[in-house]
């Protein structure tokens, strides 16, 4: 059996092992691949930066714990930018599993850094079922959908929420999501209430969102860990996304190599055995 035949029948566990090594190596020895800022990430950053200080903004935590590596750095960087501008931040989630507690933990962690007070500078509304009803209902009254916050405090007892009735009082909606909820933020909230929406998405979801950026329905877009690293770079936060990009880039190079080798191996072995018989 020649080299190409061996390669064509390579046990997939060798590939897993090489991917694992490529992920671990840059974590032990920093390479520092450059992170280029995309126009979409800059657009999102500028949109938040151009808002007047002390504006009330929405930040959503529409993601499951399984995608934390991509989405959490976006939330942390966004909160840093918002609190640095003394913005009033209202957080919420449409994800039941983990969403409310992630929002609580991340917001509290960044708020402590800027000495922000719960109820005055930020509020976590938590989770409510049926996202379509939630998104539509908040257009008329946030309190009708969320009578109390994530901690069970009635909204009327929170000074920040006394100033906010519905989307008219929100200057910007910053969605961080790992699912198709962004479609609804665009089609229900942006289209019907004209509140600007920007999004940070997992890489799986990002390609679907570019037409919305081109159409002006989304004000900026972050795609996956790369997008998170770009935002960390813009905000000036050295977070986990920037540190993860070395491993990301190295594994991408490895996969490109595998794709090229796999194709060469396919064509070489096909010549010998005929088309469509590769195992």
């Amino acid at each position: 059996m020649g080299f190409w035949d061996k390669l064509a029948n390579l046990d997939r566990r060798w590939i897993y092992l090489s991917v694992a090594i490529s992920v671990i190596f840059p974590m032990l020895f920093v390479i520092k691949f450059p992170v280029e800022i995309s126009p979409e990430a800059r657009q999102l950053y500028n949109a938040v930066e151009s808002l007047p200080d002390s504006s009330v903004v929405f930040l959503t935590f529409d993601y499951y714990p399984s995608t934390l590596a991509e989405t959490e750095p976006m939330s942390i960087a966004a909160l840093n930018q918002m609190f640095r501008k003394n913005m009033k931040v209202i957080t919420m989630t449409t994800i039941p599993l983990g969403g409310p507690s992630i929002a609580e933990r991340v917001t509290r962690m960044v708020a402590e850094k800027y000495n922000k007070v719960y109820g005055v500078d930020y509020v976590n509304l938590g989770y409510k079922a049926n996202y379509v009803a939630v998104l539509k209902g908040m257009g008329s009254s946030i309190e009708s959908i969320y009578p109390s916050d994530n901690r069970g405090t009635p909204l009327k007892d929170l000074p920040l929420m006394n100033k906010v009735k519905n989307y008219n009082d929100i200057k910007f909606i910053y969605v961080v999501a790992d699912n198709a909820i962004v479609d609804y933020w665009i089609s229900i909230v942006n289209a019907q209430y004209k509140t600007p929406v920007g999004a940070g998405m997992t890489a799986v979801m990002a390609p679907k969102m570019y037409p919305f950026v081109q159409a002006g329905q989304l004000t900026g877009l972050l795609g996956g860990m790369k997008g998170a690293a770009e935002y960390e770079e813009l905000v000036g936060v050295k977070g986990t996304a920037i540190r993860g990009m070395d491993a990301q880039s190295l594994v991408h190079l490895l996969i490109i190599g595998f794709v090229i080798l796999g194709n060469i191996s396919y064509f070489v072995t096909r010549k010998k055995t005929g088309p469509g018989v590769m195992k």
């Binding site: 039941p96 079922a129 037409p211």
Partner: protein, 212 residues
């Protein structure tokens, strides 16, 4: 790091390694972690819905705030349980009909005004050469991509002649789009791996260091 935090990290690391062990081959550790995840998710979800929906949005408003009319959506919800009894399962269709009608109404408006019309408008791009060569070229690519892809999905006439040629161009656009999606999917999956490896190396590793 407290003892409880240590325990959380060790439990997390054990479950992550159990799930990763599937990459070698299927085994009881993987099955154990998988079943724990399914069971925990179901239990957590039931508790959350009970508190956030049944208590906060039905029971409390009805009894504490006197919003008695919420008894009607409550009843519609209860009717859904008729599906468990074959003889009475038809009753659940009343609730389903309400959900379908409501959903169709909400989505018709939001999809038309939020997606179809703005996206159609965004396709009508200016080809004015004064906008610069690059802008015109991109506008042409968008217009060609949209038209040829739509033609590919037009099945009422055989794809021959001009129609066939345009449909072939459409396939190219679809393939390039699939390629972009695949590239992004690879990036997403690797990101998740990086997240878990970071947890094992730094959180779990740090915890081991602290112990010994």
């Amino acid at each position: 790091m407290t003892l409880v935090e240590q325990l959380q990290i060790w439990l997390g690391a054990f479950l992550v390694l159990s799930l990763f062990s599937f990459l070698y081959k299927d085994n009881p550790f993987y099955k154990f972690a998988e079943h724990i995840f399914a069971g925990l998710s179901a239990g957590y979800y039931i508790g959350l819905i009970w508190q956030n929906v049944i208590i906060q949005q039905l029971i409390d408003p009805m009894f504490d705030q006197g919003r008695w009319w919420l008894v009607f959506p409550g009843l519609l919800g209860l009717l859904m349980f008729a599906r468990f009894f074959p003889k009475w399962s038809w009753i659940s269709r009343i609730s389903l009909a309400f959900i379908m009608g409501n959903t169709a109404g909400v989505f018709l408006i939001s999809q038309l005004h939020g997606i179809v019309l703005p996206q159609t408008v965004a396709t009508m791009l200016s080809l004015d050469p004064r906008n610069g060569f690059g802008t015109v070229l991109l506008a042409l690519i968008v217009v060609c991509g949209v038209i040829s892809t739509l033609v590919y999905f037009y099945f009422s006439k055989e794809h021959k002649g001009i129609l066939g040629g345009t449909a072939k161009v459409g396939i190219w656009f679809i393939m390039i789009s699939f390629g972009a999606h695949f590239g992004y999917t690879v990036m997403a999956r690797i990101s998740l791996l990086i997240g878990q490896v970071r947890f094992l190396m730094f959180d779990w590793g740090g915890s081991i260091k602290q112990l010994f």
